[in-house]
Symmetry: C2
Subunit: 130 residues, 2 copies
């Protein structure tokens, strides 16, 4: 995904736009999958990943397909003691994009933390803050 760099004034005006929260990663189940895989660098078995994310087989498969098509995740099928095994792993590109996403998410948490911080009541009027 290419993203044009907004001018400084636009960025200030759109302070809460969070363009970097790309839907591919931001969607809750995929955020679970990517965080699990980021925490387990050498990969996770399908069954372990499913448990860590609290997803069903079908749901996890569907989201893995999306992530694999976008080349953020690789899925390796092999045999261990003659039993088929599926290992899921972040690609280098996946890790890079996840880290970029994370920097925007950290900004959201900073802004949100600032926004919900209790403030002393200084006036009782209902005038708009500007």
């Amino acid at each position: 995904m290419t993203m044009s760099s907004p001018k400084k004034a636009d960025r200030r005006r759109s302070q809460y736009a969070y363009q970097g929260l790309e839907r591919l990663i931001h969607e809750r189940a995929r955020l679970s999958v990517l965080t699990s895989l980021a925490a387990h660098r050498t990969g996770l078995r399908f069954g372990d990943l499913k448990q860590l994310c609290g997803l069903t087989d079908g749901n996890l498969s569907r989201h893995l397909q999306v992530l694999q098509a976008a080349r953020l995740v690789e899925v390796i099928k092999s045999f261990e003691h003659n039993r088929p095994q599926t290992i899921c792993r972040l690609t280098a590109e996946g890790r890079k994009r996840y880290v970029e996403y994370l920097s925007v998410l950290e900004q959201v948490v900073r802004d949100a933390g600032e926004a919900v911080k209790p403030r002393p009541v200084r006036r009782s009027s209902r005038a708009l803050e500007q």
Copy 2:
């Protein structure tokens, strides 16, 4: 939304499930809107909210309808100097739900930060981490 409280073992197993990231709030444009409104307690004019979120009129209207239907946001239409004015504001319920969502988002950022932290290389094998 009611959510059954999972047993402790389930919670450990589903460490990265993040059930609290409810889609109503997590969706990027709505997260922008709610963060803007959380930061401006007495409300924001429609046009100012639009700019802060980097949304079009149509997009903002659509998301405000969803948030209003869920009673997280209230939209007040009035006149100022004979000109119609639309003010958007978080409801008490909206602020409560936003704060709850935020606590889960903070957990994601903590987990993710831990996951992407550089680690010393201790082995060269490709064995699975368990």
